[in-house]
């Protein structure tokens, strides 16, 4: 099983790739920085891209939008959810 730190690095790289954040590097994203609004400044279209990312890369299906907002708060919450729920 992948170490948490390694998984965080992978998720950051995937976010940059999926969202085409060409000017952002993985080290620019801190683990507790909000992904939406302030911080990385993502928006609602990005949240759909991230939900697709979770499905494709980790086999996680998010049905409830409220649940999605909690999971996608920051890197820590995303990685925590992935570790507990991934199917691949």
């Amino acid at each position: 099983m992948m170490e948490t730190a390694e998984l965080k690095q992978q998720v950051k790289e995937q976010i940059i790739h999926f969202l085409n954040l060409t000017t952002v590097k993985p080290e620019d994203i801190t683990d507790d920085e909000p992904l939406f609004g302030e911080g990385l400044g993502l928006d609602s279209i990005d949240s759909i891209e991230l939900i697709v990312l979770l499905s494709r890369e980790y086999g996680i299906t998010i049905q409830d939008p409220k649940e999605g907002r909690k999971i996608l708060t920051d890197i820590n919450t995303m990685v925590d959810y992935i570790e507990k729920n991934r199917t691949k």
Binding site: F18, L19, N20, L21, T22, T23, G41, L42, D43, I45, I48, E49, V52, S55, R56
Partner: protein, 350 residues
């Protein structure tokens, strides 16, 4: 009469933000890729989602939308829209077996994405349309604005075009014979005519209205035709000129879309040979490459030329003996079948 006002052209050459047509940038691997600015006017979060064609169109429109009042309509030409995003979306469908797909590539790949993005960024809810008629997309957009200005003489419109090179489609077109198999530079495109040409891309935006004051050029007429008969092209041009120029007069410059493809040569030859030796002939596709809306680059060139009365030497095919350049006939040919004539004139100052 419709007039062209300020325009912006993002092209493979030095056209934006500064214009320098005394030098030519060389193609690479039979591509003439547009040189993009940094687009400071496009918000970063919006820009990162944009494909190249949308980015070029929006980037070219921003200086005009800052300068002029909100347009009464936005009329954009693009034959293919965001081709790279289209391929990305189709690949997703295949890769994920028509399952969960992301919206970004789909939204950006639609033909009307450029016009829509410009409208969204400027919160403009007026007439918004995209013309997609392959090699005549720009001419149809231009015709649309001309008709709109007849109906609404006080209005002002944003006319534009955009098309990008897509690696996937380039390969399909190359296999189909539309692009050269052997390496050729744009600077040597006309030296050894053969089947195929080089690929290009770019975006053009111009403000149009019926006000002569401060206009940069006058839009006299546009005519399109589908045919594979060079004789019919000649007849169409003769009629077009007789309807739009004073009897016995000819343009001061013929600007053709010659692209080094021998299949287009009969049309170019018949158009050029119609005029006597005094009429200069210039060509533009070694500057911009071949793409569906390449005639918009010619339109931008014509606007520059009638303002300064000088034809950049790198464009000239036949010098002629005219002392001024006030009226330009653009003839473009797309893939042997779509032909267009545009007549542009210097603005008569009264």
């Amino acid at each position: 009469m419709p007039y062209f006002h300020q325009s912006v052209c993002i092209s493979p050459q030095n056209s934006f933000p500064e214009t320098d047509l005394s030098r030519i940038r060389e193609s690479k691997n039979n591509w003439l890729e547009a040189t993009e600015p940094d687009y400071p006017g496009i918000p970063a979060a919006v820009k990162r989602r944009m494909g190249k064609s949308v980015r070029m169109a929006v980037g070219a429109s921003i200086p005009l939308l800052k300068k002029f009042p909100p347009p009464d309509g936005m009329v954009i030409a693009t034959a293919n829209g965001g081709m790279e995003d289209c391929i990305r979306f189709l690949n997703q469908i295949h890769e994920y077996k028509e399952g969960l797909l992301t919206p970004g590539s789909f939204v950006q790949s639609t033909s009307n994405a450029a016009a829509a993005q410009i409208a969204i960024l400027t919160k403009n809810h007026n007439y918004n349309i995209t013309h997609v008629h392959r090699g005549l997309a720009f001419e149809n957009a231009l015709l649309d604005v001309v008709m709109l200005l007849k109906e609404n003489p006080q209005a002002g419109y944003l006319l534009g075009s955009t098309d990008e090179i897509s690696a996937y489609n380039y390969n399909i077109d190359r296999i189909a014979g539309w692009f050269r198999d052997e390496p050729v530079l744009n600077t040597g495109l006309f030296e050894k005519p053969a089947k195929g040409t080089i690929a290009g891309e770019g975006a053009f935006m111009v403000w149009m209205n019926n006000e002569r004051t401060a206009a940069q050029a006058e839009m006299m007429a546009v005519k399109t035709i589908h045919t594979v008969d060079p004789g019919l092209v000649l007849k169409t041009m003769e009629k077009f000129l007789s309807e739009n120029l004073p009897s016995g007069e000819t343009p001061d410059l013929v600007l053709t879309g010659e692209n080094g493809d021998i299949r287009m040569a009969p049309y170019i030859d018949i158009v050029e040979s119609y005029f006597n030796e005094s009429v200069p002939v210039a060509r533009f596709k070694h500057f911009c490459g071949e793409y569906c809306t390449a005639s918009s680059f010619a339109c931008w060139l014509a606007i520059q030329i009638v303002q300064c009365g000088f034809v950049p030497p790198l464009l000239i095919k036949k010098k002629g003996s005219r002392s001024s350049c006030k009226r330009i006939l653009i003839y473009n040919n797309y893939r042997d079948i779509q032909h267009a004539f545009i007549l542009i004139s210097a603005v008569e100052r009264v």
